[in-house]
Subunit: 429 residues, 2 copies
């Protein structure tokens, strides 16, 4: 094994036990097409700019750029020169694209690999600085109603059968709540629905407006177990169709109305407002509009809860997620979220950060996804299969590493004193 050392990374030629690809049946590219010294140096610079994540990079020619930063969390296999150049040119976009195209692989734990990258990037301060510079250019286009429909269609209308492969039986596609960390996904999603209802202090006979209702699990749960009437909005056609069928089948169609429309077109008056997992898609420039919708529809004694992915500071999504998974999405920081409430002087009563619960939820989704990956493979092309694996694994890593947060914010009309005296009631046995 020959070795040469750049400033930080040990470059070594792999010994006889040459790297093998994670997927079997694909030939390792022939040696001879050696990576140039310049390419290895650029790769080293890239790793330094990412904060030196503890990873070994294995090139197609067998050369290894080994982590000098402790035991590697995983090996990243770069299968050709083109993939290497795409990675160097734009690591945040190139990694995902080349991974989806099977031109980059990860040997070892994919989540740990991605968590190592997230943590080292944050340590290097790369994210904030780059994001500060790029922020003005990175702001997503405003989510007008037609654009919102396209964005939501992109993600949520992939097909209910696909989501059934890896979500819980009620298709709750948001962070679960685990009173005990080892609770099953099914129980933790039900616990989340109940936790939301208890935070809202729903009483029988009340009316609830839900903005962004997914496949309807929360709306149906509120109607069935808390005796409220729900009007639930969503612009995903497939989700609404599914939710309506469930309401009919469960005899709840008299108490739950599923409406395929934009939250901005809501009317009526309600005792409670709830939105779980929609705010990520709203766009910060529409928060004041959302606040106006709540202000227009919430009764005098009303209260609300917004559950959303968030950030510790205003930050864009990674461009790969923005392009491939969630167009138009932008999880807010708390200061951004306050743009919903402060213009209308809503009173924020309670903010809870459930970040680790989302990491756990995503771990369970990823495990189900992997155990059903053969069926996903029958439904979609290989790039889709790998894109969604990377998205789920990357999301586990993002919540574990603190790159993403999960905020539940409770609020009510300012000056209304019918609020809980303490939070004890939420945790009583």
């Amino acid at each position: 094994m020959s070795q040469e050392r750049t400033e930080q990374y040990l470059i070594k030629t792999a010994d006889g036990a040459a790297p093998r690809m994670a997927r079997a049946g694909r030939p390792w590219p022939a040696l001879g097409n050696k990576a140039f010294l310049a390419e290895r140096l650029l790769l080293t610079r890239m790793m330094e700019s990412l904060g030196k994540p503890p990873l070994d990079l294995v090139l197609w020619d067998g050369q290894v750029l080994a982590s000098a930063n402790g035991a590697p969390a995983a090996q990243v296999l770069i299968h050709d020169r083109g993939a290497l150049l795409k990675l160097i040119a734009n690591p945040e976009l190139g990694f995902g694209e080349m991974y989806a195209a099977e031109r980059i692989d990860v040997r070892g734990d994919l989540v740990q690999c991605l968590e190592a990258i997230y943590r080292s990037m944050r340590g290097a301060g790369r994210t904030p600085i780059a994001q500060k510079l790029l922020a003005p250019f990175n702001a997503p286009a405003s989510n007008t109603q037609p654009r919102a429909r396209r964005n939501i269609h992109h993600h949520y209308d992939i097909g209910n059968d696909f989501y059934k492969l890896w979500l819980d039986r009620n298709l709750v596609y948001t962070c679960a709540y685990f009173p005990e960390p080892d609770m099953s996904l099914e129980r933790a999603q039900t616990a989340k629905l109940d936790y939301v209802c208890r935070k809202l202090r729903l009483a029988p006979g009340e009316t609830v407006l839900e903005a962004g209702c997914g496949w309807g699990a929360l709306a149906l749960h509120m109607a069935q177990h808390y005796g409220v009437a729900v009007r639930a909005y969503n612009i995903s056609r497939e989700q609404i169709a599914y939710a309506r069928e469930r309401a009919l089948a469960e005899g709840l169609d008299g108490r739950v109305q599923f409406i395929e429309d934009d939250y901005r077109n809501v009317d009526g008056e309600f005792d409670a407002f709830v939105s779980v997992g929609m705010l990520e898609h709203v766009g910060v420039d529409q928060y004041q509009t959302l606040g106006a919708v709540i202000d227009r529809t919430l009764k005098a004694g009303g209260r609300g809860l917004i559950h959303s992915i968030g950030r510790d500071r205003p930050s864009p999504m990674t461009p790969w997620i923005e392009r491939n998974i969630f167009p138009g999405a932008r999880p807010p920081s708390l200061s951004q979220m306050m743009q919903i409430f402060e213009p209308y002087a809503f009173s924020v009563l309670d903010v809870e950060n459930l970040r680790l619960h989302y990491a756990r939820t995503l771990e369970l989704w990823l495990a189900r996804y992997e155990s059903n990956v053969e069926r996903v493979t029958q439904m979609f092309d290989p790039a889709f299969v790998r894109t969604w694996r990377l998205y789920l694994a990357g999301s586990v890593a993002a919540f574990r590493s603190g790159d993403m947060q999960l905020f539940q914010v409770c609020f009510n009309r300012s000056g209304d004193n019918r609020i809980p005296w303490t939070r004890h009631h939420l945790y009583a046995p």
Copy 2:
């Protein structure tokens, strides 16, 4: 009784049972010096601009501007024309100044009178509009270190003997926490100290930085009951002197260091940062500096808690409070508070609004103040006695009506996973 009606208010001449002043021994001004129609109309306009609070206004000449807005919460007695004109010219400043000077009195419950005003002003949208227009001119001067010392001296160095008359035995001059609403003040203040310590998850042997330590109650409680070493900062000379004496007397001077200095001059490294009731005095333009202090001194596994009066939206204090009680103070909205955390990517874990607990705390302070008012009268001039009564009563009203909030914000270093899985531990029996 003769009556005439303006647009909204019924103006009537008092009948034989003419209004009597709240304080005995002061003659009611002679009739004959009648309020002009123009004055009564201006007063009516003022009440309309305040959202028509349900109050009767009784003029020195016996005329009554009666609430047409339901049963009056109280009667406001205006004893002379000068007081009337000051009130009309600037209600928010004039009311307090004329009340302190005994030229305005309130007959009935002072708190209910003030709460009626707060609620009607908010209903009229007066506060936000006026505040929006005036905001650029209302921003208090930046709290430089010398100015901060003057501001803090103004309020907190009045004399420990004065505060002993109406605070709890440990002189905790911040919102208490009442697990049960009828708990005594002493027990509720101890419960608050414990609640803060539990939220901080203090472990024996850890180090804590406290910014703005008052008379030292929290620092001493943490050291005695949680086994931590505390460095506590305050720029109030009288408070620090008192706290040092207590530490000596209780044998805690080896574990609690009281330092008379500005929070901006802190150094060292700590496991936890805590600040209870200082942020109100910091000034929003210094929040990023405060964040830098926390960032500089908090260890990798560190966490923190900031407890502060707040607002539902950015708003100035009333000018009377700003001038007479808390120069340089500005309780923040949550979006403003986030200026401490977001620039350094601290992760906000938990926000709790304890507004009603501060209303209750202030009720108990006010009751103790009134029951010791003879002793206050021996120590200070009558204007001081009335100013502080109005401040305490007005604060009860502000928290009851939702004009003021009380936020406890817990945070930690971003990405640190040694955070509580749920909040159950805070509410376990």
